[in-house]
């Protein structure tokens, strides 16, 4: 070039451009990128609000489902813990056991083990409902002393009882004691529950001291399978199954209780509810992508100028920062809205802890969505020549 104009180097251009865009305000690269992204979002406020609302509502749907799942799972851990009493083997009936949130406890679906191996300590727990009252669970357990019925506050109010009252059930008169526990249930001695018609149940088994290879002995003695994996369900046509609960020592990373409860939580997320929420998340992602594509389309000349002075790589950062801002705002909105929805529509499932856990879970996969949502429009943009971007019409 024979031009007399001073040579303009790329860094100078870069500086000039960034100076013009950023209005020479102080700060490093990151604050500048943030300010630029905020300014871009402000330029189309309605679209930014719609994008945040769309992604936020999708996050909200997922938070609702996850909160239910986590709450269910937490309650399940407690219930399994209570049911096992620390016993190393757990014989469940052919129908298995399930967690009943209303009763606040595990409920068996079938008759318990009839004959325990000789010398083993066997504790049977029976589950049923109060005679004439389907809404109150009746649990026969050895942990209740004779002549006593332990009732949760919900059960007390359902039966219009108070601590110290007398309750006649299964032909026995029991003295009612209030216990501060969730759920609607009354716990009575096993004999009383059996007399009151509770036939379902399970048995926890503890081998005699000094037994070697207790699992094989138990399997041989009872004729039932002994498994350590709670995802294995008993054969509905069989006579039951025995879980080795590895009480005392953990095998692997998760305890038996956690594994069992994780199955309960998984049941929620893989149900219709979970599937609907996941479709919602996909739609939210589509919203984010189309928002950015619309933004790219309108700013093609701006990007053409940037690309023609060699700033095409920087475009990715602009979009990344914009996308992250949208997703962070949507996350905050969605998490708060999700908590509100659960608390208002499904108060029985709401707990602060499970809501926090659900929010944390959603937070783990949103960053990946944010990055991909930014990459798609940038990829489309970088496939075009700067000259084409600068053209009046596409």
């Amino acid at each position: 070039m024979t031009s007399t104009a001073p040579a303009v180097t790329t860094p100078q251009l870069r500086q000039a451009l960034s100076g013009e865009v950023m209005l020479d305000r102080p700060g490093g690269t990151m604050p500048r990128l943030l300010r630029f992204a905020a300014a871009t979002l402000r330029r189309r406020p309605d679209r930014a609000v719609l994008a945040v609302a769309g992604v936020g509502l999708a996050v909200c749907a997922v938070v609702v489902v996850r909160t239910i799942a986590v709450g269910y799972q937490d309650a399940g851990v407690q219930a399994v813990h209570t049911a096992l009493h620390g016993a190393p083997y757990w014989a469940v009936p052919a129908g298995g056991v399930h967690y009943d949130p209303h009763a606040g406890t595990l409920v068996a679906d079938g008759v318990p083990l009839q004959q325990a191996p000789a010398g083993w300590r066997a504790i049977t727990t029976l589950t049923g409902t109060m005679p004439g009252r389907d809404d109150v669970a009746l649990i026969g357990t050895q942990s209740v002393p004779d002549g006593v019925a332990q009732a949760t506050p919900a059960a007390l109010s359902a039966l219009r009882l108070h601590g110290g009252d007398e309750l006649t059930v299964g032909g026995a008169t029991l003295s009612v004691r209030a216990i501060e526990m969730p759920g609607t249930r009354i716990m009575v001695p096993v004999d009383v529950a059996r007399a009151a018609g509770a036939v379902s149940g399970w048995t926890t088994l503890t081998p005699p001291a000094g037994t070697s290879d207790a699992g094989s002995a138990l399997a041989a003695d009872t004729g039932l399978r002994v498994v350590g994996d709670p995802s294995i369900r008993p054969d509905p046509g069989g006579t039951g199954l025995i879980y080795a609960t590895d009480a005392g020592g953990r095998s692997g990373f998760l305890s038996f209780e956690s594994k069992f409860a994780a199955l309960l939580g998984g049941a929620v997320t893989s149900s219709v509810l979970g599937l609907v929420a996941e479709v919602g998340l996909v739609l939210g992602f589509v919203i984010a992508v189309t928002t950015f594509i619309a933004s790219v389309h309108e700013r093609r000349r701006e990007f053409g100028i940037m690309a023609s002075v060699g700033l095409s790589d920087e475009v990715l950062y602009f979009f990344l920062v914009e996308s992250i801002m949208v997703f962070v705002a949507a996350f905050l909105f969605g998490v708060l809205a999700g908590g509100a929805v659960v608390a208002l529509v499904l108060p029985s499932f709401f707990s602060f802890g499970s809501w926090l856990a659900a929010s944390a879970l959603v937070a783990t996969y949103l960053p990946a969505l944010a990055v991909v949502a930014a990459l798609i429009p940038v990829h489309r943009l970088l496939q075009q020549r700067p000259v084409d971007l600068l053209a009046e019409h596409s």
């Binding site: 909200c60 739609l283 189309t290």
Partner: protein, 206 residues
Amino acid sequence: MTELSLAAPDPVVRAAAHVSPPALALSYGLRATRRRWRGLIAPALTVATGAALLVLVAALMPAVRAQGKAFGDAAAIGRAAVTVSVLVLVVGALEVAITATRSVSSRSRELGVLGSFGVAPRSVVLALMVEPVVTSVIGGALGSVVGGVTAVMASVTGWVDASVAGPTLLEAVLTATAVSALAATTASALPSRRAAHRPPLQSLTR
């Protein structure tokens, strides 16, 4: 046409002399929507997805409840499923509104021309709203039908253990279509209003 005093050569203008401004705005909006139908497929599909899910969940409510019974409160799980489906449908409808913002901004000059010819902003808003309303109603109806047919098929073939009640299905279809139309219209109203009330000169030079 006897009372035609205005000897307009253009049939469109001649027709315009006989129709009221709202009808004119609607037909203008409808023509614009037809012209831009390609861009409306994606938002119609997102609405359809949400509507199909809502109808499926509502029509197969007995099965959803039965599944929810495994985790306890069947009624609460049924309520949760409907709530989550409505949320998802609204997400789908918001896509319509985002498309509306895109459409409004790309038609900025056209709106400027309309404004400088003295077309009332109200008529412009009416014309602009045709697109989101048509998209969301078509998407919602399409999704509802797909969801309804799927629900009936699933229950007839015995894939899902629940019968589908006719009134419930109809109610679900109407609700899904109404929710998608309402959500999309509400969300699109603001960008359309803003664009229609912008001074014409500003719209022309954008």
